[in-house]
């Protein structure tokens, strides 16, 4: 009897969890219908540029963050594997992975102001490059923490075999570790990309032209058509981040169970 009740409870909670993403998708689509009716499928002009800014900031931040993240990962997994410094590094990265974006935003705003004033550059908001650098420095701990937890590393015996054949550490990394971790690195990159795309407060404070910041800034608007267009942007963002997350997590789980 108790079993039956518990199973029903389990089922109800699962259904409500399942309805959540569907409900979000449904609400976003319903609200964006007026804009689609007015503009057609292709979002025009100004709105299109927001998507462009969002994508360029994210991709640039990812490119900037990649070498640093990979260096930290290699120090953790290859050079200092099993040593105390590796666990300290993992600990620091885990702690910083969840620093709220508003903290980074506040820190970056005042310091970039100081730097820009020091260099004597007049500015209203900051360009794509400074924003991407801030995003990248925010992304590095997250991506390292994700990759440490989710990427399976090369078995020690294989590496020892390579050392016996006289390989240097670099050759082991290049010929064994990288091919072994490649899938995981791509999945980590995708997850980080989705995270930067969805990041709000940093771009609201520093830049204000990406999808998230436009949705945030103009949300109080009364104009019905513009309000609806915000939901088109939100719908786009939701679909992109959801798709990227699903693909990335699928890649992790695929070779996790191999």
């Amino acid at each position: 009897m108790k079993d039956k009740a518990f199973k029903i409870l389990l089922f109800i909670s699962v259904i409500s969890v399942l309805l959540l993403p569907l409900g979000i998708l449904f609400s976003l689509i319903i609200k964006s219908i007026p804009a689609f009716q007015h503009f057609g499928i292709i979002v025009s002009g100004e709105w299109f540029s927001f998507i462009g800014y969002s994508l360029s900031v994210s991709v640039l931040a990812l490119i900037i963050a990649a070498p640093f993240s990979i260096s930290l990962l290699l120090i953790y997994a290859e050079y200092c594997n099993g040593k105390k410094i590796a666990s300290i590094l993992a600990f620091i990265m885990d702690l910083f992975a969840y620093i709220p974006s508003i903290v980074w935003g506040i820190w970056a705003y005042y310091n970039l102001n100081l730097i820009f004033d020091g260099l004597g550059i007049a500015h209203h908001s900051f360009g794509i490059l400074p924003v991407s650098i801030v995003m990248a420095s925010m992304m590095i701990p997250y991506s390292v923490s994700v990759s440490i937890h989710y990427i399976p590393f090369v078995p020690r015996s294989i590496k020892e075999g390579a050392y016996c054949l006289g390989a240097t550490r670099l050759e082991i990394i290049g010929t064994i570790s990288f091919p072994f971790m490649a899938k995981g690195l791509i999945a980590t990159g995708l997850l980080s990309l989705a995270k930067i795309l969805g990041e709000t407060m940093v771009v609201v404070i520093l830049f204000g032209k990406t999808v998230t910041s436009v949705v945030f800034d103009r949300f109080g608007t009364i104009d019905d058509l513009e309000f609806s267009t915000l939901f088109v942007l939100a719908l786009f963002l939701f679909m992109v981040t959801a798709a990227v997350n699903i693909v990335a997590r699928y890649m992790f789980s695929k070779f996790w169970y191999e």
Binding site: L18, L20, P21, F68, P100, V103
Partner: protein, 289 residues
């Protein structure tokens, strides 16, 4: 041969040097952030900071003119954060643990993978979208910004994290632990509540703490749904301020720069401390078993 070898080791060393350099460069922003927060944030730390509500713009302007410490504190933010997170925890923790159990213990592969995908899509949802959706669902029908709406948007942020950590924790259990329970004559409910869940209790608690630490820092959905309030408020149908919303309010007033830094330092330390406690619980459990 010897020459070849030395060439290879030289390349190895150069690359190792570059990697160390990159790692040090990557740590610079983190160290800079910590030092900056402490150096610029310590000025406002006093007794009032934790016991007074946030200053009005006029008070801030006058103290800015007189180059004094800004009066007031962030008590309304602390109480609001507490209220909103309690609401979110009450919603998200039971649902999250049940969802995690389902994810671990489901035998229909198609439905299970569908469930996985929806959790993955929820894990990546940008906070601002949570905010506008909760605005549609709660704020508009109830005709007002409220702590309840803020709590629900935080629950949407926390829920997939709790489900996923519960699932990951359950996955580490031996596969036959349920059969062992059944052999002892336990019903399904008693196996779950007396064997499966207690075994992974500490991991789940640590996952909940990490989810809470994430929720403390969430800003944009709370500005959209809970709006912020200048006074302490314990009604769930009234607007509240949280720590992160206060940072945003202070940031928009140029007289309150010091207040911004101190509040940000407070938020930073809160998140770090919650994460350290979560880690401690996670690894403490590992030592015992």
């Amino acid at each position: 041969m010897n020459k070849l070898k030395s060439h290879r080791t030289a390349v190895d060393r150069i690359v190792f040097g570059l990697i160390i350099l990159c790692a040090i460069l990557a740590l610079i922003p983190l160290i800079w952030l910590i030092f900056d927060l402490f150096i610029k944030g310590y000025k406002q730390i006093n007794f009032d900071f934790f016991t007074q509500v946030s200053p009005t713009p006029l008070e801030a302007y006058l103290s800015h003119l007189g180059k004094q410490i800004i009066p007031g504190g962030i008590l309304n933010g602390i109480s609001g954060s507490f209220l909103v997170i309690v609401i979110a925890t009450v919603i998200a923790v039971p649902l999250g643990i049940l969802g995690g159990l389902f994810m671990y213990d489901n035998h229909s592969p198609r439905f299970s993978s569908f469930f996985h995908y929806s959790i993955f899509s929820l894990l990546g949802i940008p906070p601002v979208i949570t905010g506008i959706v909760v605005y549609l669902w709660i704020v508009e029908p109830l005709h007002g910004f409220s702590a309840l709406a803020g709590g629900i948007s935080l629950a949407i942020v926390m829920l997939p994290m709790i489900i996923y950590t519960t699932f990951k924790a359950l996955e580490t259990l031996p596969r036959n632990i349920k059969e062992d329970g059944a052999v002892l004559g336990g019903t399904y409910t008693s196996i779950i509540f007396r064997i499966v869940l207690p075994t992974v209790r500490d991991k789940i608690i640590s996952g909940i703490l990490v989810a809470i630490s994430r929720a403390v820092g969430v800003t944009s959905p709370l500005i959209i749904t809970a709006l912020g309030a200048p006074e302490i408020n314990w009604n769930i149908d009234h607007p509240v301020s949280t720590i992160s919303v206060l940072i945003w309010n202070f940031f928009n007033n140029s007289d309150m720069v010091n207040m911004v830094w101190t509040t940000t330092l407070f938020l930073f330390l809160t998140v770090i401390v919650l994460n350290i406690i979560a880690k401690g619980i996670y690894y403490g459990q590992k030592l015992h078993t």
